[in-house]
C-alpha cells in the first residue's frame, strides 16, 4: 500500500507536468504552431539531426558494444566506464568541450573545415552534440544485448561451417536487435531533448528546444507553450510508432 502511494507520487511528478503542458495548449494553438514555418523548420531539423545522430551511434556503437560484451582486454572495464561519462557531465560543459575539440581552431575542426565541413554554428554541430550525449546509450544498450546472447551459440554456428562475420550476422545480431533498438530509441529521445550542448555549439539554425527556449525568454510562457506542446506530441508519436512497429519476439514460421 505504502509502495503504491510512493510509486503513484512519482508517476504524478512525471506525468503531471506533461499533462499540464498539453492542457495549457488547446488543439487550436498547437495546430497554429504546427503551421508556423519557424516552428515547423525547427521540429523538422530536430527530427532530422536526431535521426542522423542515432544512425551514426548505431553504426559505430554495435561493433563497440559487441567488443565490450565479448572480449576482456586490459582496460575494457575502464573504457566501459569512460563511455558513460557524457551522461553525468553538465551539458553546457559537453558543448564547451566539443567546441574546443571540433572548433575551427582545433586540429580536427580545422581539417574538416578545409574539406568544407563546418561544424560549429552549422547543422553538423547539432549532430555532433546529439551524438556526444546519446551515443553512450546505444553502446551500453548494445553491450547489454550482446552480453545476453550466449557466445556458445556463435561457436555452434562456427562449427556448422559459418564464418565469424556470418555467425555474428545470422546469430548474435538478430538476437541482440531488440536490445540495440531499445538503446537506439533512448538515444533518439535523448537527442531530441538535448539543449545545453547544442546551444553552445550551434545556436543557429535553431532546433526545437532552442527555439522554445528563445520564445520563452523573449516573449514569456504563453509564447513558448504551443511549440513546446507540439514537440511533446511529436516525440510521443515517434516513440509510440516505434513501439508498435518495432520487432516483437520473432516467432519462427
Amino acid at each position: 500500500m505504502a509502495g503504491a502511494v510512493l510509486g503513484g507520487l512519482l508517476v504524478v511528478l512525471v506525468v503531471g507536468p506533461l499533462a499540464r503542458l498539453l492542457w495549457e495548449a488547446p488543439p487550436g494553438t498547437i495546430a497554429e504552431a504546427a503551421l508556423d514555418p519557424e516552428v515547423r523548420d525547427a521540429v523538422a531539423l530536430t527530427i532530422l539531426t536526431a535521426s542522423v545522430a542515432t544512425a551514426i551511434a548505431v553504426v559505430l556503437g554495435i561493433p563497440l558494444g559487441y567488443l565490450l560484451a565479448r572480449s576482456r582486454f586490459p582496460g575494457s572495464r575502464f573504457l566501459s566506464g569512460l563511455l558513460d561519462l557524457p551522461v553525468v557531465i553538465p551539458h553546457p560543459v559537453a558543448g564547451i568541450a566539443l567546441m574546443l575539440f571540433l572548433g575551427r581552431h582545433s586540429t580536427i575542426g580545422g581539417a574538416l573545415a578545409n574539406f568544407g565541413l563546418e561544424i560549429v554554428n552549422h547543422v553538423p554541430g547539432i549532430v555532433a552534440a546529439m551524438l556526444f550525449v546519446s551515443a553512450p546509450l546505444v553502446v551500453s544498450g548494445a553491450r547489454e544485448a550482446f552480453a545476453s546472447v550466449d557466445p556458445k551459440l556463435e561457436r555452434v554456428a562456427r562449427t556448422l561451417g559459418d564464418s565469424p562475420w556470418g555467425a555474428f550476422r545470422r546469430i548474435s545480431l538478430p538476437l541482440a536487435t531488440r536490445g540495440i533498438l531499445a538503446g537506439a530509441l533512448l538515444a533518439w529521445g535523448r537527442s531530441v531533448s538535448e539543449f545545453g550542448a547544442i546551444v553552445v555549439l550551434t545556436y543557429h539554425p535553431r532546433v526545437a528546444s532552442v527555439l522554445i527556449y528563445d520564445r520563452f525568454t523573449l516573449s514569456g510562457l504563453p509564447a513558448a507553450v504551443p511549440a513546446a506542446a507540439l514537440l511533446l506530441l511529436v516525440a510521443l508519436g515517434v516513440f509510440l510508432l516505434i513501439r508498435v512497429l518495432g520487432p516483437a519476439e520473432r516467432t519462427p514460421r
Binding site: 556458445k152 561457436r155 562456427r158 562449427t159 556448422l160 561451417g161 559459418d162
Partner: protein, 367 residues
C-alpha cells in the same frame, strides 16, 4: 580419427590443459571423464578450434587442423545446454550447416528427414524452439550437429540435463545413430555409467592432465591412482604399507622372475586394522583398491580361503535392484561388498550382524 599430441593450453595465466595425448580411432567412441573443472569442456573447445592451443597438435583423420578455423574442421558439436538457435524453427536449426555449404534445398531436405526419422523428431520440424522438452532439444541438437556429415562428433555432457529414464532412451538412440553414421565421437561426461556403456576408449581427466586412459573395463578395474579409483567409484581405496611376505628386505628378497615387464611378487599390505595378502611390484607406502564385486561375505565360515580372511560387521545394506551393496566395518576401516540380493536374503543379513569376509590376493589391486 582424432589425435591429440602434447596439447597444452594456457589461458588467464594458468594451464587449462597440460600435455594431453589422446587418440580415438576412426568411427570409435572416446570418453573423457573427470570432475567439474578438470578441463573437459576446454578440451572439446580446443579440438573444435574455439580456443587456440599454447602448444601441441590436433589431427583429424590425419589432417593437422591445429591452426584451422572452426568452420574448416568439419566438426559437429553438442553442448550440454544444447544451444539451439532460438530465433529459428527446428528445421532452420537443422539445415544451418547445409545452408552454409550451399547444399541444394531438396538434398538438404532429404538429409534432414533422414536424421529426423532416426531421432524421432519429424513432428517437430516446423515448430519453434520454445516449449520443447529437454529430450527433444537434445535430439534436435544431435541432429543439427550430424546433418552436415561431420567427420568428428564432440559431445559435452549431452545427458546431464535430462532425467534418468530419458537418459537410457537417449543412450540407445545415440548408439543407433552412431551405427548409422559411423562418425568418430568424443564424449565428455562425469557419469561413470556413460563411460562403461558407450566408450571404446576412456580417458580420465584431472586438472588438465590425462590421469589414465585405455579401454573402459581396464581403467575401471585397474586404476593407476587413488584419484582415478575414487572418481570412478571402483571400490574402497585404503592407504597403508606393502611389506615383503617373508619379512626379508627388498634387496635380499630376489623377486620371483615373472613373465611380463614388471617385477611382481607376493607381499602383504598392512594397515592398523588389516593385513592382506597382495601381489605387489613395490614395497613401502601404497594404496590398495578393494572392488566390491571381489569381496566375499558370509554369515558362516568361508572355506577355501586360508588367507585374507577376517571378520567385520555390517553397517548398512543398500539395495540396488538385484544387487545389494553391503557396507562393512572392521576396526576403524570401512569398505563395501557387492552381493546378490538372493544371497543377502538367504542368509538373512541385517545391520550389525557379524560376518566372515574373504578376498583373493589377486583381487586386491595395489597402486
Amino acid at each position: 580419427m582424432i589425435r591429440l599430441d602434447g596439447v597444452h593450453l594456457r589461458a588467464g595465466g594458468i594451464f587449462r590443459l597440460e600435455g594431453i595425448d589422446l587418440e580415438v580411432e576412426s568411427a570409435g567412441y572416446g570418453l573423457i571423464i573427470g570432475p567439474t573443472g578438470s578441463g573437459k569442456t576446454t578440451l572439446l573447445e580446443a579440438i573444435a578450434g574455439h580456443v587456440p592451443l599454447t602448444s601441441g597438435r590436433i589431427l583429424l583423420d590425419d589432417e593437422d587442423v591445429t591452426n584451422a578455423a572452426p568452420e574448416r574442421r568439419r566438426i559437429g558439436f553438442v553442448y550440454q545446454g544444447y544451444h539451439l538457435f532460438p530465433h529459428f524453427s527446428v528445421r532452420e536449426n537443422l539445415t544451418y550447416g547445409l545452408d552454409r555449404a550451399r547444399v541444394p534445398r531438396d538434398e538438404a531436405s532429404r538429409r534432414v528427414n533422414e536424421l529426423a526419422a532416426i531421432l524421432d523428431i519429424g513432428e517437430l520440424l516446423d515448430r519453434g524452439i520454445t516449449g520443447l522438452s529437454g529430450g527433444e532439444q537434445q535430439r534436435i541438437a544431435l541432429a543439427r550437429a550430424l546433418v552436415p556429415r561431420p567427420r568428428i562428433l564432440l559431445l559435452d555432457e549431452p545427458f546431464a540435463a535430462v532425467d534418468h529414464s530419458m537418459r537410457r532412451v537417449l543412450r540407445n538412440t545415440l548408439a543407433d545413430l552412431r551405427e548409422h553414421e559411423s562418425v568418430t565421437t568424443l564424449h565428455v561426461t562425469h557419469d561413470v555409467d556413460d563411460a562403461l556403456r558407450l566408450g571404446s576408449m576412456v580417458a580420465v581427466l584431472s586438472r588438465g592432465r590425462v590421469a589414465q586412459s585405455g579401454p573402459p573395463e581396464d581403467v575401471f578395474r585397474n586404476p593407476v591412482s587413488p584419484f582415478v579409483a575414487d572418481f570412478l567409484g571402483s571400490g574402497t581405496v585404503l592407504r597403508g604399507r606393502i611389506e615383503r611376505l617373508d619379512g626379508v628386505g627388498e634387496a635380499a628378497a630376489g623377486a620371483e622372475p615373472e613373465s611380463g615387464n614388471s617385477r611382481r611378487f607376493r607381499a602383504v599390505f598392512v594397515t592398523p586394522d588389516l593385513r592382506l595378502d597382495v601381489v605387489a611390484d613395490h614395497v613401502g607406502e601404497a594404496h590398495v583398491l578393494i572392488r566390491p564385486e571381489d569381496v566375499l561375505v558370509s554369515k558362516t565360515e568361508l572355506p577355501g580361503y586360508p588367507r585374507n580372511r577376517f571378520t567385520a560387521s555390517i553397517t548398512r545394506l543398500e539395495r540396488e535392484g538385484p544387487v545389494v551393496i553391503v557396507h562393512l566395518r572392521t576396526g576403524k576401516t570401512d569398505f563395501r561388498a557387492a552381493l546378490t540380493a538372493s544371497t543377502v536374503n538367504e542368509q538373512g543379513m541385517a545391520r550389525n550382524d557379524p560376518v566372515a569376509v574373504a578376498m583373493k590376493a589377486t583381487a586386491v589391486h595395489v597402486f
